[in-house]
Symmetry: C2
């Protein structure tokens, strides 16, 4: 087989679904499926056996595929064989997934990784922006996910689960994720709406949501812009601390709320430049990740390289 | 020569002095000197030439020594050849120290490192407490220094200068070092003295200093204990964030103010356990570093192994 035509299976594991993509070496998703996993929880075989089984379904569907990458929403061991704490799927806690997969499919190879780290690898391998071998990756969605690529490899830290920036302590000892995860951002927006009733424009009597926040910010709504300013400040502080710990100064932002990155950026940049010396700021880069909704599947596939 | 009798030169570079020790493989300082470097700044040859020259003096004094370790108070490049930002000795900024040393002494070898990282290596190689290959090291003195050993090696981060915990942002966006460096601690003490005049005991009308703080805490002085409690809280928060980023949960504390570690410990432990999940806390260890005043010299020598 021509090596350029090799394909990989990327499996993005969520709380209720698997996203499964057949991905080319160039980062093209040539085939995509979504599997609902909610029934696995009640299945007498147990979630884990069902999960292993469904992987087999796709290995059969794509017999040319030798390598499978799996992105998992939680903590895994440093050897990347056993899932430790997967809050969205407790059945996976402490399960040697790699051994179970290899037992069923001994002629295939499997790479397990935390989902944010997988997404960072996707960005590293496939992004048109060509990240350098050292960058910080932050996904802003329901929660805050993060990962670091150092010297071209996922930074695992001492025990395997580095880069839980969402749980760093920020203002008043709140977790970063509490402050600027989806709900945190909507709390800030609500506070701003109440503080500046005369400036809310078409936010009046609407159900506040992040899409509306981004849309109104784009229209120049002052309350929405103030909200993003505060988010940028808070996120910027956490980034400053992380830069001081990792000496990494190229940062990519992904996830749904990164659609509003341009509105956070002035506060983000100001905070970063205010608290860092020239050694750090002269080459600092803050920019949007490029893979969008495909980051999970592409990232999982990128683990195979 | 019997390998067990090999010796190394450890050079701890400070703002005004060099501490130079001939150190055995077992971590014994068999000979120690202190060199005043203040005159180098006015010397027509320049600080850097004087510094290179004085190393030669000790290589002549100890002709059996082949390897020299040098601990530097600031930022150096990732290749560990060139000093980048050394606030205490600006003449060293951007100086290829390793090349200059090798030019003068081509048959010797030289290892350069940040001083906190060197002290961590000293702890790793020589401490009776036998640290594991993964630990965080925090020195509490005039400033807050820190380092991490990951998989048995100094963690350099993306660009070479990881672990500037003293510049992480803490409460109200102050730098950690501003809050709990020496002056920060004395500010807390002064605030406590003013808040609880009835409890200050023999702190009354004394010049506040860290030795007095430790001594009075040992006597049970409530104001001194409250001061250490607040220091423990603030330091604990920064440690929680660092553990989340590095997934490292063995922590050693050195430096002068670590003499009061036992008084910070209840607040420190409480904060760490409050904000971390079981995955982190089940094996967390917070303890005192063991090398004391010799950490700098021994750490520099430990770079040679």
């Amino acid at each position: 087989m021509n090596n350029q035509q090799e394909h990989f299976l990327g499996v993005d594991v969520g709380g209720t679904h698997l996203k499964i993509g057949k991905v080319s070496l160039q980062g093209e998703i040539v085939s995509f499926d979504k599997e609902d996993t909610t029934s696995y929880r009640e299945d007498p075989k147990g979630f884990n056996a069902c999960f292993v089984e469904v992987i087999g379904k796709y290995l059969k569907k794509y017999p040319d595929i030798q390598k499978v990458g799996i992105g998992l929403p939680g903590l895994i061991n440093k050897e990347r064989t056993t899932t430790l704490e997967i809050p969205a799927i407790p059945a996976l806690d402490g399960f040697n997934l790699k051994a179970a997969l290899l037992e069923q499919y001994p002629d295939k190879s499997f790479c397990l990784e935390n989902d944010a780290s997988a997404a960072a690898m996707g960005e590293y391998k496939f992004a048109s922006s060509k990240p350098s071998p050292n960058f910080l990756f932050i996904t802003m969605g329901t929660g805050i996910g993060s990962a670091a690529v150092i010297d071209g490899e996922i930074f695992k830290g001492a025990r395997g689960n580095a880069m839980e920036m969402g749980h760093m302590l920020s203002r008043g000892n709140a977790r970063l994720e509490t402050l600027v995860g989806r709900n945190g951002i909507l709390n800030i927006l609500e506070r701003m709406v109440n503080a500046y009733p005369e400036k809310i424009g078409r936010l009046r009597d609407q159900e506040l949501g992040t899409h509306l926040l981004v849309d109104t910010a784009r229209e120049g709504n002052e309350v929405s812009l103030l909200t993003f300013e505060e988010v940028g400040d808070i996120l910027g502080e956490a980034i400053v601390s992380t830069i001081r710990i990792l000496d990494i100064n190229e940062v990519y932002f992904g996830g749904g709320i990164s659609a509003g990155l341009e509105f956070m950026m002035p506060a983000l940049e100001k905070t970063v430049r205010q608290y860092l010396t020239r050694y750090y700021t002269q080459e600092v880069q803050l920019q949007k990740a490029t893979l969008g909704n495909n980051a999970g599947t592409l990232g999982a596939a990128a683990l195979c390289f």
